[in-house]
C-alpha cells in the first residue's frame, strides 16, 4: 500500500470524524431543502429558484468546507507536532502533501455527492425533473473544488489558518471575477493597469468557466468542449499548485 494512499485514507478518516463536515452537510442540506419553502415567493419562477438556489448552495457549502478543513490541514500537523511522528516514518514530504490533498478532496467529493443527492431529489419532486445539464453543472462544481482544495493546501502549508482561509476565499472570488475585470480594463484602455491585471488573470484560476448556472437558468446546453477543457484545466492547475506546495514544504524546518 503506497504511503500516499495510507495518508489519504487517514486524512479522509480525520475529516469524516470532524464535526465540521457534519455541520456543513446539515446546513447545506437545510439550505437546499429551504429553497422549496422560499421558491413560491418568486411568482411563476419557483422551479427556477429551486434549481438556482440549490446549485448555489452546493457551490457555497463545498467552498466553505474546503476553507474550514483545508486551511487547517497541514498547519495543524505542524502546530500539534504530529508531523514529527509522520515524517520520521519512511514518507517523503511530497507524498505527505499529495496524501493530505487526496484525502481532503475525497471528503469534498463525498460532501458534493451527498448535497447533490439531496438537491436532485428536491429538483425531481418540486422543480420538474432532473436534466443532464444539472449533472454537468454539479460535475463542474466538483472540478472547481479540485482547484480550490489545492489552493487551500498551499496556503495551509505556508500561513496560519485565518490567513489561509482569507487567501483561499479571495482566490475563489477573484478566480470568478478575473475574466470580468480583464474585460473591464480592456474597455477602459488603461495602459498602466492592463499588464498587472493580465498577470493576475494568468496566475489566478479561471473559475468562471466552471460556473454554468446561467446556462441552466436560460436553458442553453453546456458545450461538451467546455466540460473537457475544464477537466484538463482543473487537473493541470491543481497539479501546478501542488508542485509549488511540495517545493515550499520540502524546504521547511520543523522546529
Amino acid at each position: 500500500m503506497s504511503h500516499t494512499f495510507v495518508l489519504a485514507v487517514n486524512t479522509f478518516r480525520e475529516a469524516v470524524r470532524d464535526r465540521v463536515l457534519t455541520a456543513v452537510l446539515v446546513f447545506g442540506g437545510i439550505f437546499v431543502l429551504g429553497a422549496v419553502v422560499t421558491a413560491p415567493l418568486a411568482l411563476g419562477e419557483h422551479q427556477r429558484v429551486i434549481r438556482d438556489l440549490g446549485l448555489a448552495a452546493i457551490s457555497f457549502f463545498t467552498v466553505l468546507m474546503i476553507v474550514l478543513l483545508g486551511t487547517n490541514l497541514v498547519y495543524r500537523e505542524i502546530e500539534r507536532r504530529t508531523i514529527h511522528t509522520i515524517l520520521t516514518h519512511p514518507v517523503t514530504r511530497p507524498a505527505f502533501i499529495l496524501g493530505k490533498f487526496l484525502g481532503l478532496y475525497a471528503t469534498v467529493l463525498l460532501s458534493v455527492l451527498i448535497l447533490s443527492a439531496v438537491y436532485l431529489g428536491v429538483v425531481a419532486v418540486f422543480a420538474g425533473g432532473v436534466q443532464a445539464d444539472l449533472l454537468i453543472t454539479i460535475g463542474l462544481a466538483a472540478m472547481e473544488a479540485l482547484i480550490v482544495t489545492s489552493v487551500a493546501v498551499l496556503f495551509s502549508t505556508v500561513a496560519s489558518p485565518l490567513l489561509s482561509a482569507v487567501f483561499t476565499f479571495c482566490v475563489f472570488v477573484a478566480g470568478h471575477l478575473a475574466h470580468d475585470i480583464l474585460e473591464l480594463v480592456a474597455v477602459t484602455e488603461n495602459a498602466a493597469l492592463e499588464p498587472v491585471v493580465k498577470f493576475f488573470y494568468l496566475v489566478l484560476p479561471s473559475l468562471h468557466y466552471f460556473d454554468t448556472r446561467n446556462n441552466i437558468l436560460s436553458g442553453v446546453p453546456v458545450p461538451t468542449g467546455q466540460l473537457v477543457w475544464c477537466a484538463e484545466y482543473a487537473v493541470l492547475y491543481s497539479a501546478a499548485v501542488l508542485l509549488v506546495t511540495m517545493v515550499a514544504f520540502s524546504r521547511r524546518d520543523f522546529e
Binding site: M1, V6, D18, T82, T85, I86, L87, F254, E255
Partner: protein
C-alpha cells in the same frame, strides 16, 4: 561509509527569529558517533541542543553547517527511516485514533499489512504494557503514561535497527520508568541501537553503555559510562570486620573516612596504594575483608560538575571578550540562568 549507526561531523545549527532574523546558535560543531547495538545516553541541561540534534538526525531540520549519516545514509533519507523508530518529547498523535488504529497507520507507512501487521501490533502493545481495555479507545482519553507507551509501541513496531527516544521517561510514574528501563535493556539484548535523550540521570546510568553530554550547543563529554565515572577518582571503598575493636586504631590511620555499616566497618582510602596498606593491616590484625571496591562518582555528580565547569569556562571566555551582548550571548546567559535555577 561509516561503521557507526549515527555519525555526526561538525554540526552547527543557527536559528533565526522570523521577524528580525536575529541569530541564535543552538549547536556549535557537534561531533558524535554511536556504534551498532549500544545504548547511548544523550544528556544536557534545558536548551543545550539535545532535541535540535535529534531533529537533525531525523531530517526534520537541516544543519547550518556540518554533515553526517544515520544508518549509513544522509540525515532524513527515506532509506534510513525504514530502519528507524522515534519517540518524540511529549508525543502528539491523531486524537481521533485509538492505539490500535494508530499502530495500523504507522505499520502501513512502514509497508506492513495483513495478519502479520495485526499480530505484530498486539505483541508490541503487550510488550509496552498498554492495557487491553485501552487499546480501542481514542488516544484523546489517554493519560501521559499511556501516550508514552503508545509512542514507544509505534517506534518499535517495525523492528527497527535504531530507536531514538527523546525524553521517554517524562510523565511516567516509578513503575512506568522501570518498565521503560527494562524495555530499553531488552532492545539492547536484541541488538537494537538505542539513542536515549533524557533528563533522568539515574535511568541513563542504569541503561546506557556510553554517554554524551551536551552543554550550550557543544558536546563537552563523550565516552563509555564506566570510563567517565571512574576517571580522576582513585578512591577505594573497603568494607571489613575486625575480631577486636582495639585493632581499629591501626587500620583507621590509612582511611580518609570510616563509619559503621550493617555488614561491618566501611572506610575509604584515598588511592590504591593506601588501600593496600589498609588491607594488610586488617588481615594482620586477624580481621576479615568483606569488600574492596573502587569508588565511582554518580552520573549526577559528574554531570553537575561537568556542566558547571563548562559554564565557568564560558563565563571566563565571555569576560575576556570585549563587551558584546548580542542576541546569541543573551540566549546563552538565559540558558545558564535556567540551569542554575
Amino acid at each position: 561509509m561509516s561503521s557507526h549507526l549515527i555519525d555526526v561531523r561538525g554540526i552547527t545549527k543557527v536559528f533565526r527569529s522570523k521577524l528580525l532574523r536575529r541569530p541564535s546558535t543552538a549547536l556549535r560543531g557537534v561531533d558524535l558517533a554511536v556504534g551498532e547495538g549500544e545504548v547511548f545516553g544523550f544528556l544536557g541541561p534545558n536548551g543545550a541542543g539535545k532535541t535540535t540534534t535529534i531533529k537533525i538526525l531525523l531530517g526534520l531540520i537541516r544543519p547550518t553547517s556540518g554533515t553526517g549519516e544515520v544508518l549509513g545514509r544522509p540525515f532524513g533519507s527515506v532509506e534510513a527511516r525504514r530502519s528507524l523508530g522515534f519517540l518524540p518529547d511529549s508525543p502528539n498523535f491523531y486524537q481521533y485514533l485509538s492505539a490500535r488504529e494508530l499502530l495500523i497507520f504507522a505499520g502501513r507507512l512502514h509497508g506492513l499489512q495483513g495478519p502479520e501487521l495485526h499480530r505484530r501490533i498486539e505483541t508490541t502493545l503487550d510488550r509496552v504494557g498498554l492495557a487491553e481495555a485501552a487499546r480501542s479507545r481514542q488516544v484523546r482519553t489517554y493519560s501521559r503514561g499511556m501516550l508514552q507507551r503508545t509512542g514507544i509501541a509505534a517506534a518499535i513496531l517495525p523492528n527497527p535497527r535504531l530507536v531514538i527516544l527523546d525524553e521517554p521517561m517524562n510523565g511516567l510514574d516509578p513503575l512506568g520508568r522501570r518498565d521503560f528501563r527494562d524495555l530499553i535493556l531488552s532492545l539492547k539484548r536484541e541488538g537494537v541501537t538505542v539513542f536515549l535523550s533524557s533528563h533522568v540521570l539515574a535511568d541513563i546510568e542504569q541503561t546506557a553503555d556510553r554517554v554524551g553530554i551536551l552543554s550550550d550547543g557543544r558536546l563537552v563529554e563523550c565516552g563509555a559510562l564506566n570510563d567517565i565515572l571512574s576517571a580522576g577518582d582513585r578512591r577505594i571503598e573497603i568494607c571489613f570486620e575486625l575480631a577486636q575493636r582495639e585493632a581499629l586504631a591501626g587500620v583507621e590511620r590509612g582511611l580518609s573516612t570510616l563509619r559503621r555499616g550493617s555488614a561491618g566497618w566501611i572506610g575509604e582510602a584515598v588511592d590504591p596504594d593506601e588501600a593496600g596498606r589498609v588491607v594488610t593491616a586488617i588481615l594482620s590484625a586477624g580481621g576479615r575483608l568483606i569488600s574492596y571496591q573502587p569508588r565511582r562518582s554518580s552520573l549526577e555528580d559528574f554531570f553537575m560538575k561537568r556542566v558547571e565547569r563548562d559554564e565557568a569556562e564560558g563565563r571566563r571566555a565571555a569576560a575576556q571578550r570585549p563587551q558584546s551582548s548580542g542576541p546569541a550571548e543573551q540566549t546563552r546567559k538565559k540558558k545558564r540562568q535556567e540551569v542554575r535555577t
